[in-house]
Each structure stands twice: as structure tokens, then as C-alpha cells.
């Protein structure tokens, strides 16, 4: 494990009414490392992700960015610390072009009193930004709605990276994707990892794919981390076995 974690959480708890979403969760990710979070619906994965993005605040526990304790009171504060979350389907405006989406609310403006949009500079920089991380689209002027699911996800990730994200949170980046599309995203994540300066945390359902992409995986159940391992040291079968055992124990009471 890396000496200095890009982001680290200690003993996070979160209760919604009578439901304990997180019962003391600790995790960390290093620069250039990819962590996969697996688990069933309701295991607390999303709550953990939303605390890291500043959307929810934990009842207790502490988050550290670059080993400095931080309070992520809002999404904007988290973003200012370089934490960006990519939600599938939520991130992009279908009716706008690829480059408008990449620059959404960070548009480049021309000099002059009218502060008009600098379409040319945005197109050029969008092409460069996509080329840099190897995302291929027919044209940056094409409407995002006309792209495939894989391309859209890649654009959403590219936008986060382009806005200088150093800690990238991916919410089910491969959900509802065909094999070839998923492969595009897997390749993209591998290229981002190779840059070495971005820490990636991804929530996923598919064990085999997650093990293929990630350096390390954690398994969450009932708001706790029940298993943690380097990806190379475990297998989909072992993870499935742990989940089944837990499920049987819960049902057997």
C-alpha cells in the first residue's frame, strides 16, 4: 500500500432514521491506485461514495485528503480538493455537443466587452483533452445524445479529468454496457491509472470486471467492510462465496 494515501476515510458512520447505512468504515486509496467497492444493493457503497463527494456528511469519522483532515461540507468543497464523481446518465446534456459538455459551466470566453463563448478554443482544447486520454469520438461537435453509452461514459470521465480531478469516483461505470463498450471504459481507466497521479474509486456489481480493472477490492455488507484484498490475490469465485455465506447466515438467523 502506498505511503501517502490520496484519500483516506477513518471509521465513517452514517444513520438514516432507523437504517444504519455505514457502521464504521475505513478505506484508503493511493495516487495511481484503483480501488473497487463491491457489494449488494443497500450495503452502503453509495452512502460511502456520497460522503466522499461531499453530498452527505458522516455522523462520525474523518476523511483525509493527502493525509490532511478535511470536512467535505458540500460537493463544491470536495471538488475544490480535486474530488470528482462521475454518475452514469446524470452527467451529460444530450442536446449539447461533446465540447460544450466538456466545458459545461467552465466555458472559455473571448476577450472583449461581450464575453462571448470561444467555441474555437473549446473545440481545440476538447480535441486535445480527449486525445490525451485516448477517447475516440467521431467529432467534438457531435451532440452527446448521438453517442453510444460507452462513449458517453468516456466523455463524462474525460470531463472530470479535464477539470483537474485527482481523486476520481466512478458510480457503476460499466453498468448497462455491452462487452465492447465496457472494454473501452476498462481501457480508459487503465490509461488514467498509468498516469500515476489520479486515485480512482469505483463502485461496481460485476466481480470479474472489477477484479480485472482494480488493484484492490473491498466487499461491503450491511454498512461494513467484510473483506479486503489485492485484486490479484482473490477471485470472483471467492468473493461470491463470501457473499453467499453471509446471505445464508443472515437468512438462517
Amino acid at each position: 500500500m502506498n505511503a501517502a494515501a490520496a484519500i483516506r476515510a477513518e471509521n465513517l458512520t452514517k444513520v438514516f432514521g432507523t437504517v444504519t447505512a455505514l457502521a464504521g468504515v475505513s478505506m484508503e486509496v493511493g495516487h495511481g491506485e484503483t480501488l473497487g467497492i463491491l457489494g449488494d444493493n443497500g450495503a452502503g457503497k453509495s452512502t460511502l461514495l456520497k460522503i466522499l463527494t461531499g453530498y452527505h456528511q458522516p455522523d462520525s469519522g474523518q476523511v483525509f485528503v493527502d493525509e490532511r483532515p478535511v470536512r467535505l461540507a458540500s460537493v463544491d468543497e470536495a471538488r475544490a480538493l480535486g474530488i470528482e464523481c462521475v454518475y452514469q446518465d446524470l452527467a451529460l446534456v444530450d442536446g449539447l455537443s461533446v465540447y460544450h459538455n466538456l466545458f459545461l459551466n467552465r466555458e472559455l470566453l473571448r476577450r472583449g466587452p461581450f464575453r462571448l463563448l470561444d467555441h474555437k478554443a473549446m473545440r481545440r482544447q476538447a480535441e486535445a483533452a480527449l486525445a490525451e486520454i485516448g477517447v475516440v469520438v467521431p467529432s467534438v461537435e457531435i451532440e452527446v445524445g448521438a453517442l453510444s453509452g460507452g462513449q458517453r461514459q468516456a466523455i463524462a470521465v474525460a470531463r472530470a479529468v479535464h477539470s483537474n480531478a485527482r481523486i476520481l469516483l466512478l458510480d457503476e461505470p460499466l453498468a448497462a454496457m455491452g462487452a465492447r463498450e465496457a472494454q473501452q471504459i476498462i481501457g480508459l481507466i487503465a490509461r488514467l491509472k498509468a498516469r500515476g497521479d489520479i486515485a480512482i474509486v469505483m463502485i461496481a456489481h460485476n466481480y470479474a470486471q472489477t477484479l480485472e480493472i482494480c488493484d484492490r477490492v473491498i466487499l461491503m455488507q450491511h454498512g461494513e467492510i467484510t473483506f479486503e484484498s489485492a485484486a490479484a490475490a482473490t477471485s470472483a469465485a471467492e468473493l461470491l462465496d463470501i457473499v453467499r455465506r453471509e446471505y445464508r447466515a443472515a437468512r438462517g438467523g
Binding site: 463544491d76 451529460l92 446534456v93 444530450d94 459545461l104 459551466n105
Partner: protein
């Protein structure tokens, strides 16, 4: 040096394919069908009535077109960000009376115009604050405002028309000269086209309508932009009312109303603005307004009565909508 014939052929074939591709791209745009239909209508009316393309009739035509087009500029911005203003026609009727009373109270005409525009904008601000602040759908807010503003206009005018103040020069600039209203409309179209396509305001208006969650997630100030577009629409409505009052030479408490509002909305929708938000162009609204104006003016020249005219306008809106939905589907398919 002579080029090999094969290469020449290849080049001209490529050129033709490029032109054909561009023509096809143009025809797939929502405005294109409306341009084609408008041109055909102009040709038809000129053919059956030699008076169509005369200076006198072009003035009349331009007056049919101008008011709905200016109203459309505001409604298009609102429709794109998933709102609508039903009361803009009542602000249209109120503004000339506000100007008249401000003048009666001793303000110079120019200042009275500014006061009328400020009151119009204020109505837009109130609509925006109620809609955004209290979460009332704008359909309802502006429906209420429609009756409220209409009642105010009828009360302060006691139901009677009033004279508009000002000398012939100001009157001419503000609408009395035959082409001044259409020139105002074209200037506003040009400005609003730039606002929609080339400013953050316009881009964010599209983003809000296209995907409100993504817009909020990106930190766009949704409330500010929606309220701003309500203010803009009401101010444009008031301004159009002033132009019409100067053109006619009097303020009429029954001017404008729902008719002008629906013509504005129809111009936008015929020109390709999506009722569900997220898409639309100002130029489309101009073209839609021209098409409605040509229909209205052409059938008036032919002596078709107002009842039949409504049938034709209704059919035109339905045909344009069906065509737009069909074209949007074709466009999406050709992009894939």
C-alpha cells in the same frame, strides 16, 4: 498542366457528394422544412395575387410578422429551459397604458417608455420569483398573472383606448413608420441569436432544459437563469406592446392578449423549439413567425375570413410539429 481526367472526375464527384451531404444536412434541420414551405407559400400567393410582393403589402406582411417574432424570442428562451409565459400578451396590452400614465404624471416620453419597460420586467420578476421560489409551475403562475394583469389594464384604462404621447419622429422610430417594427424585430432576433448561441447565458439555458440534474451538478445557477428569462420575456412583451401602440397611434386595452402569446409560442415551435425543453433556435422562431405572417397576410389578401384562418393556422402548427418530430428522429439516426 492538364490534370488526369480520372482525378478530375473523382474531385468533382467528391465535391458533389460534399454538396449533397451539406444539402441533406440542411434539409434535416428543423428550420429547413419551414423555409421551404414559406418560400412555396410566397410563390403561391404571388401567383394567385399580383399584389403580394408590393411595397404596400410587404409593409403589412412585416407588421404581421414583427410582433409574434419578438414575443417568440422570449418564449423560445423559456421553452428551452422548460418554462412558459402565458401572460406575455397581457403585459403587451398593459405597457402602453403605463407609458401613457407616466407621461401624464409629467415624465418625458422616453422616460415614460423606460418606466413601462421597467414595469413589464418587474412583472416577469414576480412571475420568476413565484415560479422558482414557491415551486409553482410556470403554466399556473402565468395563467394567474394573465388574468391579474388583464384586470389591471382594464381597470386603469376603464376599458377605453388612450392616445400615445410623443412627436412624429419618436413615433416613427417606435413603430409608426411602415418598416420600423420589423427592423426592431430583426435587431432583437440578431441580439437574441447571439445570446442563445454565443454566451454562457444561452448555453446554460439549453443545458438546464436538456438535463437539469447535470446542469445543477455542474454548478449552473438554474434559478437565476430561469428568473432572468421570465424578466426578459415580459420586458420583450411590454416593448412589443409599445411598438404596436405607436404603430396604431393608440393604446388598446384589448390589444395583444392570448392571441399574440400563442402566435409567439407557435412561431417558436414551428421553427423547431422543443416544448419539452433543451432545444430550439431564435432563427427558427423568426422563420416560424414569417411563415405564420405569410399565411395570415396571404389569406387576408385572398379574402379568406378569420374563422377559416384559424383552421389553417391550427393545421400548419400540427403539420410542422409532426414534421419536426419526424426530422428529429431522422437526424438522430443519421448521426449514429
Amino acid at each position: 498542366m492538364a490534370e488526369p481526367i480520372a482525378a478530375q472526375r473523382r474531385r468533382s464527384a467528391a465535391l458533389r457528394a460534399g454538396l449533397a451531404g451539406r444539402a441533406r444536412q440542411f434539409l434535416l434541420r428543423p428550420e429547413a422544412s419551414v423555409i421551404v414551405v414559406s418560400a412555396a407559400l410566397v410563390a403561391y400567393f404571388e401567383l394567385v395575387n399580383a399584389n403580394f410582393l408590393t411595397d404596400a403589402n410587404l409593409q403589412t406582411l412585416s407588421q404581421f410578422v414583427a410582433a409574434p417574432v419578438i414575443i417568440a424570442c422570449g418564449e423560445i428562451m423559456l421553452l428551452i429551459c422548460r418554462e412558459i409565459d402565458l401572460s406575455v400578451g397581457q403585459v403587451f396590452a398593459l405597457a402602453p397604458f403605463v407609458m401613457g400614465y407616466a407621461h401624464l404624471f409629467g415624465l418625458p416620453v422616453i422616460a415614460a417608455i423606460v418606466v413601462a419597460l421597467a414595469v413589464s420586467a418587474l412583472i416577469g420578476l414576480i412571475i420568476g420569483l413565484i415560479t422558482i421560489g414557491l415551486g409553482v409551475p410556470s403554466f399556473i403562475t402565468t395563467l394567474g398573472m394573465l388574468f391579474l394583469v388583464n384586470g389591471v389594464t382594464l381597470t386603469i384604462s376603464r376599458g377605453f383606448p388612450a392616445n400615445v404621447p410623443g412627436g412624429p419622429t419618436l413615433g416613427g422610430v417606435m413603430g409608426a413608420w411602415g418598416y420600423s417594427e420589423i427592423l426592431w424585430a430583426l435587431a432583437i432576433v440578431a441580439i437574441m441569436h447571439v445570446v442563445l448561441r454565443h454566451t454562457r447565458w444561452g448555453l446554460h439555458t439549453v443545458a438546464i432544459g436538456g438535463n437539469p440534474v447535470a446542469a445543477a451538478e455542474a454548478g449552473i445557477a438554474i434559478d437565476r437563469i430561469k428568473i432572468g428569462n421570465f424578466v426578459l420575456t415580459s420586458a420583450l412583451g411590454g416593448f412589443t406592446g409599445l411598438l404596436e401602440a405607436f404603430r396604431v397611434g393608440s393604446a388598446d386595452p384589448l390589444a395583444g392578449g392570448s392571441n399574440i402569446m400563442f402566435l409567439g409560442v407557435a412561431s417558436g415551435v414551428i421553427g423547431g423549439t422543443a416544448i419539452a425543453g433543451g432545444a430550439g433556435t431564435i432563427l427558427g422562431g423568426l422563420i416560424g413567425g414569417i411563415m405564420l405572417g405569410v399565411l395570415q397576410d396571404g389569406f387576408t389578401l385572398q379574402g379568406i375570413n378569420a374563422f377559416t384562418f384559424n383552421i389553417i393556422i391550427g393545421a400548419a402548427i400540427l403539420v410542422a410539429m409532426v414534421a419536426n418530430i419526424h426530422l428529429a428522429r431522422r437526424r438522430r439516426r443519421s448521426a449514429e
